[in-house]
Symmetry: C2
Subunit: 415 residues, 2 copies
């Protein structure tokens, strides 16, 4: 069984309007092992809509259509779908009753235009919509299934979960698909691939995909199996192999991002933290405080852009700033130590670097960043040179700071 | 003339992989007045690919296809497109030469598999790719145009701009489409719509779209005209009307975001700023420092999560924290004043609030935020209650702080 998804709405084709229903449906289908072979977004016009529905039906056993079920002249999904399957529309008494009851409950008069929302393709099952006026419908046609769903996510999601997914589970059979994501920070995609490809190329189930973003590599392991336990066991076998070639590198296998992992480590150990940021400009503090409960460990943060603020807030020696420069190993160390001392915390972090696009020199190019981590055992500084533009350099610097903290907390060798 | 866009690649159908080439192409086509009637993403499989290409061609005069032009068995765009138009593939000598020269330049041996990248649909024009191995191709077929483009954006974009767009401009004719975005902060979509809908519903050209996001409303005015000057004049007429009903509200009409506008105002006036953040946790400083040159105005920032840090770093009175509470008007004022005094800057900002999800009370619910702005003329505090989750509350608080700063700098009445 394979699926095609069609999102209806001219507004979804305009710049800056991402189509999110298809992503949601694709994820839910993946979980029950139904692959999506095609996703389309189409304008509110009869001809293209009918054309894509015909094509999708010719291609896929399951066609999910979202949107275009409203009461206006722009809402053409019902007529286009009826034409595409070559059946007439019939007004459905139950759907009409539901519509009228909804309007009565809200104390509003139902416009005549709303009545067409009760039109169902001949042979289709009415899917009640407790969260809006547009009823859905589902048409079994031999082995094939066509489902029309409302566009607003808060109407679509409960309707899909409650009235469509159970049937799809049945049709898809007992097989399941499970995915686990192994996340690593501050490592290159190429480096990871070189180490793990001998493992994952040997097995076709689970299949492995590598997704790299600045400062992070995610390994997606997706297994198919007759039941969830077997799928998880297959994933675990491969994951164990990957862990052994990348010892200490994987920071999460449960969907958590690095700042969540580090926050939990700090809270579990009742440790406190102060951060001093120059080039990242508050980005590290902002990331750590995205997690509720950050006040349990983040005592304070300093954004020290100017030399004066480094001296006044962090007690960095002015002679050091003159001799080594603001972007240097000893200044990163002094910032980390100053933050820790001033805030009287267990740990301190200092970040100084050149985010660009200007300010780089031959000795100190754009992308050069020093990160100091200070704790009662001492202070260590790591030096990195990040590729990319200003945003990417700043994001990678925050990511490396978090990874250094994680490794310090877990007693792992620093990278 | 109307367009359909097809993105090829199974990886684009996986969760978490947004398809961005289509957005880019859609925007560029909109500028020359070619509407996109359909966008599809399709798996690397011959049957679906051929099927969607046939359907797209039956629907649109212009079909743009991205991806699937590589050298591997998964790269099926060439064969599927040839089948869809019913023409054979022919190896193109110029394309083959280009490929060989590229490999020679890089000192690498060309694999036999790469040769098929030089296969062109009979009658198609070869589009050289100076940024990668996959050549593009373009097939004129009566009134219709089929264009195959490589998937990687840094290969696709220059090829499209230089080798496709000029031809499309010719085909689209002299008409142009221009869009201007009027941006407003810390105002509700409903409020804006109530004020401007009497203006924009009267005109069909430009057409107006409202796009709301937390803390921001963007009005997109899109005009069609025979020439750019007329399009701009039409937009300006409507924009002038909108400005008059929303005096001082629009912070940019040139694509700049609020932090860019505020940064420029501060730099132009040689003013300096210090920020003290509690609930936003460094988010305001991080936003301001996204702009290169932030060191010209951002002297320093304080992330004061703990009461102790508010007392030690900002000289907030401990009695005040006890009596009024950390989330209160006088504490926001004291934070703004303390930051300004400690950093000896022209301006100071203090933000304190309850970002949630926990920590709210009946008196001080989640979403309550106080923002103080201090300058030599005095300190003013604004109180707001933001809807949404933790991230949304924090984003809206940063946005309001920037808007308050903008209005203070421009001498506009505070909202």
């Amino acid at each position: 069984m394979r699926a095609a998804i069609v999102a209806v709405g001219s507004e979804l084709l305009r710049p800056g309007r991402p189509e999110t229903n298809g992503s949601y449906l694709g994820e839910r289908l993946a979980e029950i092992g139904i692959p999506v072979v095609q996703r389309s977004t189409v304008a509110d016009e009869l001809e293209p809509l009918e054309s894509i529905l015909r094509q999708a039906r010719s291609l896929a056993d399951l066609v999910l259509v979202t949107g275009g079920l409203g009461p206006t002249a722009d809402d053409l999904t019902r007529s286009a779908a009826a034409a595409a399957v070559g059946r007439p529309l019939r007004r459905n008494a139950a759907a009409l009753e539901e519509l009228k009851a909804r309007f009565a409950r809200l104390g509003r008069r139902m416009a005549a235009a709303n009545e067409q929302q009760a039109d169902l393709i001949e042979g289709a099952t009415h899917l009640p919509n407790p969260n809006g006026t547009a009823p859905g419908q589902r048409l079994r046609d031999g082995d094939r299934l066509l489902v029309l769903l409302p566009g607003p996510p808060r109407e679509l999601m409960p309707m899909f979960e409650e009235q469509v997914l159970p049937l799809l589970r049945e049709l898809a059979g007992p097989g399941v698909t499970r995915t686990r994501v192994l996340r690593m920070a501050s490592v290159s995609e190429g480096e990871v691939d070189q180490l793990v490809s001998p493992l994952y190329t040997r097995v076709r189930n689970p299949r492995t995909t590598i997704l790299g973003s600045p400062g992070q590599v995610d390994l997606h392991l997706t297994a198919e199996a007759p039941d969830p336990e077997t799928a998880e066991r297959r994933i675990e076998e491969l994951a164990a192999g990957i862990r052994s070639v990348l010892p200490g590198r994987i920071f999460s296998e449960d969907g958590r991002e690095l700042h969540e992992v580090v926050s939990r480590l700090l809270i579990e150990r009742s440790l406190t933290l102060a951060v001093a940021e120059s080039c990242t400009g508050g980005g590290l503090a902002a990331r750590l405080t995205r997690v509720p409960g950050a006040s349990e460990f983040l005592e304070r943060g300093f954004v020290c852009y100017s030399n004066r603020s480094k001296i006044e807030e962090l007690d960095v020696d002015s002679g050091l700033l003159d001799s080594a420069g603001a972007v240097s190993e000893p200044v990163a160390a002094a910032m980390a130590e100053g933050a820790r001392r001033r805030a009287a915390t267990s740990l301190g972090i200092g970040i100084t670097g050149i985010a660009g696009p200007s300010g780089g020199t031959e000795d100190k190019p754009v992308g050069l960043v020093y990160i100091g981590v200070s704790d009662p055992a001492g202070t260590r500084v790591s030096r990195a040179r990040f590729p990319g533009g200003r945003d990417q350099v700043r994001r990678q610097a925050c990511q490396l700071a978090l990874e250094l903290l994680r490794r310090r907390l877990l007693g792992l060798e620093l990278p």
